[in-house]
Structure formats: C-alpha cells, structure tokens
C-alpha cells in the first residue's frame, strides 16, 4: 500500500511537471535563441546565395523549379499568366495570406526562423518598417545587380531601406490624378472637359475656393471630396519630397501641416463629406452622386471605382492635379534572405517588374502600368485601344503617363515609422472632423507619435 502510494506520488508529480512545462513553453521569451538561430540562418543563407549565383551562371536558360509567393488576392496569379509561357519550368505557388494579417505573419515567420516565401509582398503602408528589417536580399548588389535606370525615378525612394539599398521592386505604377463626376463638374464648373477643368483648377487655393462654392450652391448636399481622408490623400502629392522623420526628428511642419491647413479650411467651408475612407459607407459614396472629386491613382480605377460603381459608363473624367501628381500605394516584391530559390525568385520579379512582356501581361490583366521605364516611350499604355468608356472614352492611361513623366511627381522616402505615423494622422483627421484646427492638431499628432516612438524628437 505504501509502495503504491509512493508510485502515485511520483506519477502525479511527473504529470503535473509535464503539464506545467508544456504550458510555460509557449509563454516564455526566447529572443536570444531566436537571434542566434536567425544569425545562423543568415550565415547559411549567404553561402546559399553565393552558390545560387554560381549556379545561375552555369544554368542560364535552364531555369527549373518551384517558388512560393505569399499573396492576398489573385493580382499576381492573373498578372503573371504569361510568365509560365516564357518560363514553363518555373512553377509559382501562390499562398493566400489575408492582407490585414500579412505583416504579422511575415514578421513572426522571420523572427521564428520559419519557412519564408521566396517572394514576399511589401504593401506601401507597412513597407517602411518591413524594408528596414534585415531580412531582405539587396537587389542592387550582386548577384541581382538591379539597374536603377530600368525603373522610373520616383520608384527608387519607395524601394530602398534607410541604408539606401534596394530591397524590393514595386510592381504597379501608382501615380494619381483626380477622378471627377462629369455631371457634377458640368453643374459647378460649367464644363466636364478635362482640359478645360485643368485650366480652371490651377492651384490648391482655387480648389478650396471651389469647394466652398459647391457646398453653398448645393445647400451642403454635394462635396468637393468625400471626406478628410480623401482630401489628405489628394494633397499628399504637394508635400512628399521629404521623409516624415529625419535624423530621428519628426519632420511634419513642412510635410503634413500645410495639408492639414487646407483640410481645416475645407472642413470650415463644409466642402468635405463625412465619409471615412475604406468604410462600406465610403464605398457607397461613389454611386451616391454627391462627391465631385476623388484622388484616383491607377489602381483606384479598377479596384475601387469600378468595383463600387459598376454601371457608370461615361460618368467620370480624370485630370492632372494642380501640382503635377503624386504616387499613392502600391505593392512591391522582395526576396527574403531565407528563400531557398533566390535565382528563380529574381527571375520572376525581374520578369514581372522590369520586362516588356511582364508589363504587357500585367497591364492587360490588371489595367495598371508597371514602373518599368523602358516602355514609357512606347504606346503600350497610351494607344487608342486604351480609351476607357467608363471615363467617357477618355484615354486615362495617357493622363497617367503624363503624370508619371512629370518631373514634379515624386515620392516620399520611406522610414520605419511611416505606418505608425500614418495611423496617428488618421486619428488626428478624425479630431479635425469635429472642429480641431490644424495648429491645434499638429502638437497632438506629434505627441501621439512620440508616445509610440519615444526615441524620436519633436
């Protein structure tokens, strides 16, 4: 009996310890180990990269194998349909990862030394922080040797990390114009002709003035823009040449404050609707015929306007913004250091982003140009076949190409703080919607950012 009791005690103790250890295993911090394994992995990877480069030279023209890309839609699958014709022996496996959770998955996988994809997507919002993680191959260095001249100049700042290394290549040219509702333009501007409208709307002060007129004439029923988010995006083109953070110091007085002042004025004039961007209510604003202008980059036309306002042929027009243009959004492709098929991944990215064939395929299937500069002087995007009935037969690609070639079209260099700063801007915009002035909003914006990133200075 006593022996039995001792046995019971041993069994109970063992079971309880096993339980406790199992539960604690998932809870403890293991950063050191993670860092060590990550270091080991990096060493292994560079050796792999070297051998891959060597194999690349010997295997030119005989590329074979499989690569995996994490995607959040069928954008790539459709866009790369011709890739498999050129490279029949390269199979691309697309793994759907929800877009909202993409960064979390990528970061966790990288930190845990897990199986990274061969090609990863870096969407613009999170690109600043992702690109600055030391997990990417340098594409402007050997063995890749990306030629910067293959891309339009404004694509470079949005492909680099803070050291200036190119770590990704954006697939889509996201320059933006202003799409407008032709019927409302005729009503308030007396014309729906894009050229005539551009002559009227020569600068932002005129724009704001016209917003006030629209609100007054319509009795507050029609708006210049759908909301303050839209106005913010429409204006970012004016102030995107400098980064939001320079030498660990916030640089918002010249980059964000002027935009906020215009927004303050438009809110006072009741020129902005109450739609919060990306909400379903905002989606329905397109069909509501109450909003005159939308900031419309290239992707906005197929994925937002045509998706939310389906039967609207002839309803819209497109003009160049007063300052020349801006770039908003976009998805870039990078090769993680952990990729086991770097050469194939680079072949895929290069074909997609820097080849005539890839540009043609992507434009044909997605209606969006790439940033490959060598086709910009051809009529690939601008020929008459591209006239869009949705825009009343206007050749909107011609307009986008004008904007893309405009030397004033620039992009803001990325920082790892951008996503956090943008979230704070959105919070402050909501406060401005309820009457906060730009001068009151700026200190709040800075304080909110410093709370997130205490290492930064105001």
């Amino acid at each position: 009996m006593n022996k039995n009791l001792n046995f019971r005690k041993v069994v109970s103790l063992t079971a309880a310890i096993a339980m406790t250890v199992t539960m604690l295993a998932g809870c403890g911090s293991n950063n050191e180990q993670a860092a060590q394994s990550s270091g080991q992995a990096q060493t292994t990877t560079s050796t792999a990269a070297e051998s891959t480069a060597a194999e690349s030279t010997s295997q030119t023209g005989a590329l074979k194998g499989e690569i995996t890309q994490w995607v959040w839609g069928d954008y790539e699958k459709k866009g790369a349909v011709d890739f498999t014709k050129t490279y029949p022996d390269i199979k691309v496996n697309y793994v759907m990862v929800p877009q909202n959770d993409y960064v979390k998955k990528l970061q966790t996988t990288a930190a845990s030394n897990g199986d990274m994809p061969d090609v990863a997507n870096l969407e613009m919002t999170a690109r600043g922080s992702l690109a600055n993680l030391d997990i990417w191959e340098k594409l402007d260095a050997a063995p890749y040797n990306l030629n910067k001249d293959d891309l339009v100049p404004f694509a470079i700042p949005i492909s680099q990390n803070k050291k200036g290394d190119i770590v990704c290549v954006q697939i889509d040219n996201c320059v933006g114009g202003y799409a407008y509702n032709r019927e409302l333009a005729k009503k308030y501007f007396g014309t729906d002709d894009p050229a005539e409208l551009e002559k009227v709307l020569t600068n932002w002060d005129v724009f704001v003035q016209k917003g006030k007129e629209i609100s007054e004439k319509s009795g507050g029923k029609n708006f210049l823009f759908a909301g303050s988010d839209d106005a913010y995006y429409a204006l970012i083109g004016l102030y995107t040449k400098e980064p939001w953070v320079q030498d660990k110091k916030l640089n918002l007085d010249t980059t964000v404050l002027p935009t906020m002042k215009y927004i303050e004025q438009m809110i006072k004039d009741k020129a902005l609707g109450k739609y919060v961007m990306w909400t379903p209510a905002w989606n329905s604003s397109f069909a509501s015929n109450t909003v005159v202008f939308y900031a419309a980059p290239t992707w906005f036309v197929p994925f937002v306007m045509k998706a939310n306002d389906k039967d609207a042929n002839g309803k819209y027009g497109l003009i160049t913004p007063p300052n020349g243009g801006y770039s908003w959004g976009g998805t870039a492709y990078g090769i993680p250091k952990e990729s086991k098929n770097k050469e194939l991944a680079w072949t895929y990215i290069k074909w997609f982003t820097m080849s005539r064939e890839g540009s043609e395929g992507f434009f044909r299937t997605q209606g969006t140009p790439t940033l490959y500069s060598k086709v910009y002087d051809t009529d690939l995007y601008t020929n008459d076949a591209n006239k869009d009935p949705y825009f009343g037969g206007q050749n909107i690609m011609q307009k986008y190409m004008e904007i893309a070639k405009n030397p004033n079209t620039q992009t803001r260099p990325m920082t790892e703080y951008d996503a956090g700063i943008y979230d704070s801007i959105v919070v402050v915009l909501r406060a401005m919607d309820t009457g906060l002035s730009a001068d009151q909003a700026l200190p709040k914006l800075k304080a909110d950012i410093i709370k997130k990133f205490p290492e930064l200075q105001q």
Binding site: A15, A16, G26, C27, S29, Q33, P98, T108, D115, A307
Partner: protein, 273 residues
C-alpha cells in the same frame, strides 16, 4: 386569480422583449448575408435582400468547405484532448498530495495571466523544431494544456468527488487509472461537457495561431480562410457575414445539444467555487 394572470402577462411580455433583444442581432446577421455589401449601410435591414446567390457564389470562390472541414477537425480534436488532459491534471491537483503541488498549481495559474501574443514567436519556433509547422497539430495538441481547463477541473474535482468513494474503490482493488476513468470522470461529467464546449469555441474562433503556423491554404481554418474576402481595396462584408453565419451553426447545434450540461456545469462550478 386575475392579479396572478396580470403578473403572468407582464412576465411574458418581459421575456418576449428580452428574447427579441437577444435574437435580433442574430436575425440581422442572417439578413445581412442576403444583401450587396454597399447596401448594408443604407439603413437597418429586416427583410431578406436579393443578393444571397451572389454572396454564396463569392463565398464559394474561396475553398470554404475545406476550411470548414479543417475547423471541425481542429476544434473537435482540441475539445476532446483538452478535456482529457485537463481532467487528468485537475484530478491530480485536486486529489493527490505530492511535492511542490502548490508551486506547480500556482505556475499553471500564472500562465493564465500571460497573453498568448507574448510567447508567439517562441511557440512558432517550438512548432518548427518539432516539425509540426504547416500541419493542424499545433492547433490541436498544445491548446490541450489549457491553464483555465486545469483550474476549472481542479476546482470541480476537489469538491465533486468524495474522498470516501475513492478510498472505497481503492480498498476494492481499483488501480489509479481505473479510479480516474470509472469513478472520477462520471462525477466530473458536467465540468467536462462545459470545458469541451468552451475549448471547441476557443479553437473555432482562433485566428492568430493558424495565421502564424500555417502557410498552406489547404489547411486554413474558417477564421483565417474567410478573411480572404477582405483585400486591400474592398471588404466584402456581406459575403463575410454570410460565411460567419453559416459557421456559427455548429456552435449553435452543439450548444442546443449540450446546453443542459453546460448550464449545470457552470452553475455547479459557481456554487462550489
């Protein structure tokens, strides 16, 4: 008599009102799945719309049936294992005396206070090390060691199983395992059913763990799979609501089937503390 009747009517009306308040969100959820997303935000909808077919088509554009199957395997497996592991651990903590018992029980309790997110990277490394990544195992086996489950079972077992019955069984020659299976478990039935339902629910709704350990679409569970209907540019709320409505059905069925056990388990634990 008429006063009693009056009170009954008031009681009935009150219950009716409370029922409406409870059922209305579920009803509107079902109705929302029959509309075009943009139309959902033009006012409350009480009558079914005409977009159900399109939403079903959208829903089936993703591999919803595979996600459903995976969720059932994961939630079912997790519920069964959680009950087995936690019942055994709870029984051990409640009925045996052994070295460091209090310390071990306290450390189990401490893990309840630590958010899962904090140990996420370590958890993923662990799963990678044991070769379970890209399989359903990390969603089924580790959750079985549920701190709450152990606490729940310990509390229940300590008061629900009389020591005298256990002693009698031992005198009659019952070994410890048989004692647990044949004597203890029947006493813990209500708590087991409650824990099984809760474990099923946690697992069914879990998004974070599948997100970080699975990179193979064919193994996605419903919460992860259904998010494919939301992209950078558009959130198909109606199709997502329809999908979620359909996926709440197993939970509703389970609750209906085991509601008595769940309620008795909850109330017993509440009384026994």
């Amino acid at each position: 008599m008429s006063k009693k009747k009056g009170l009954n009517i008031i009681g009935f009306v009150l219950i009716l009102l409370i029922s409406v308040v409870a059922i209305l969100p579920f009803y509107t959820m079902l109705i929302m799945g029959t509309y075009y997303t943009n139309d959902l935000f033009t006012g409350m909808k009480f009558i079914p719309g005409n977009y159900l077919g399109e939403n079903i088509k959208t829903l089936f554009s993703i591999d919803i049936l595979a996600f459903y199957k995976n969720s059932i395997i994961v939630a079912g497996g997790s519920a069964i294992l959680t009950v087995i592991v936690c019942a055994m651990a709870g029984f051990a903590f409640a009925k045996y005396k052994f070295l460091f018992k209090k310390t071990l029980f306290s450390s189990v309790m401490v893990t309840m206070m630590i958010p899962m997110q904090l140990g996420l990277v370590a958890f993923v490394i662990e799963m990678q090390a044991v070769g379970w990544r890209n399989s359903l195992l990390p969603l089924i086996i580790p959750p079985a060691a549920s701190a709450f489950g152990v606490f729940w079972m310990t509390q229940f077992a300590s008061s629900a199983i009389p020591d005298e019955v256990m002693e009698s069984a031992r005198i009659d020659g019952c070994n410890e395992f048989t004692l647990f299976v044949k004597i203890a478990l029947p006493f813990m039935r209500a708590a087991c059913m409650t824990l099984a339902l809760l474990a099923f629910l946690w697992s069914w709704n879990n998004l974070l763990t599948p997100l970080v350990v699975i990179s193979n679409e064919s193994l996605y569970t419903i919460p992860l799979g259904i998010r494919q209907l939301s992209t950078t540019f558009r959130n198909d709320t109606a199709a997502q609501v329809l999908g979620l409505s359909l996926t709440t059905l197993p939970i509703l069925l389970l609750f209906s089937a085991f509601s008595k056990s769940l309620i008795s388990g909850l109330s017993a634990a509440a009384v026994k503390g």
